[in-house]
Amino acid sequence: MSDLTSALVIKALDGLSERSVVTANNIANAASPNFRAGRVNFEDALAQAATQGRAAVSAVQPQVLTDPAGSDVRLDLELATASTTATRYAALIDVLGRELQMDALAITRNN
């Protein structure tokens, strides 16, 4: 696995973690009047940075946008987001874990 890939995976994990926090906040405030739900966006910026090398990837910050006023929190959609986020997070952790295993293999089987 290349350096760029692991940087991408780590940035994506950061973004998903931020998204889980914002989604939890949206759900907690589902009954708050005039509450504007938050959205986390990082995929587009990350995809663009991936073409420009590692430094660009490291500079990507997840963006938090707020929904326009007057839109209600849709509980089902928020729960779907929470569940998707957790699944994608688990998948990326798996990728990172495999990379670490390969590194460990390289360290232990080099004699």
């Binding site: 998903l16 939890a24 906040n25 759900i27 907690a28 509980l75 929470a82 997070y89 952790i93």
Partner: protein
């Protein structure tokens, strides 16, 4: 662990909302409280939790939800003619608290749903934290 903390505030607020609804329904026939007036239906007021120390810098992330107070709903009392009731006035009318049962039940169902949603969100966050602990584990 911020996501789980936020879901926890959601559980706390919805639980307290449910307590207020239960109190309203339990007192639907309370014609006289300690102050001599009929019971007033209450409504829990909640909103996004704000950290006033960091409010202007906006550096803090989302903090969840908080209770801002329990306010009387202000529904007018119902007057019912019951001359035999010890709480009746000179003309034989008893003031029953104005409680909108349909609204209370609707609010109760809504509160339950939001409570459940907070538990699901908390479980999703928990799964993520547990998964992160598996990093570097030998399989």
């Amino acid at each position: 662990m911020q996501a789980m903390e936020i879901s926890r505030t959601g559980l706390d607020v919805e639980w307290r909302r449910l307590e207020v609804i239960a109190q309203n329904l339990a007192n639907a026939n309370s014609t006289q409280g300690v102050d001599g007036k009929p019971y007033q239906a209450m409504r829990l007021v909640s909103g996004p939790k704000a950290d006033f120390g960091n409010y202007l810098s906006a550096s803090s992330g989302p903090l969840g939800v908080a209770v801002y107070g329990v306010e009387p709903e202000g529904l007018p009392a119902r007057s019912i003619y019951e001359p035999g009731n010890p709480n009746a006035d000179a003309k034989g009318f008893v003031s029953y608290p104005g409680i909108d049962h349909a609204a209370e039940m609707t609010m109760m169902v809504k509160t339950e749903r939001v409570y459940e949603a907070n538990i699901v969100a908390m479980n999703a966050a928990r799964q993520m934290y547990l998964k992160a602990l598996e990093l570097g584990k030998r399989s």
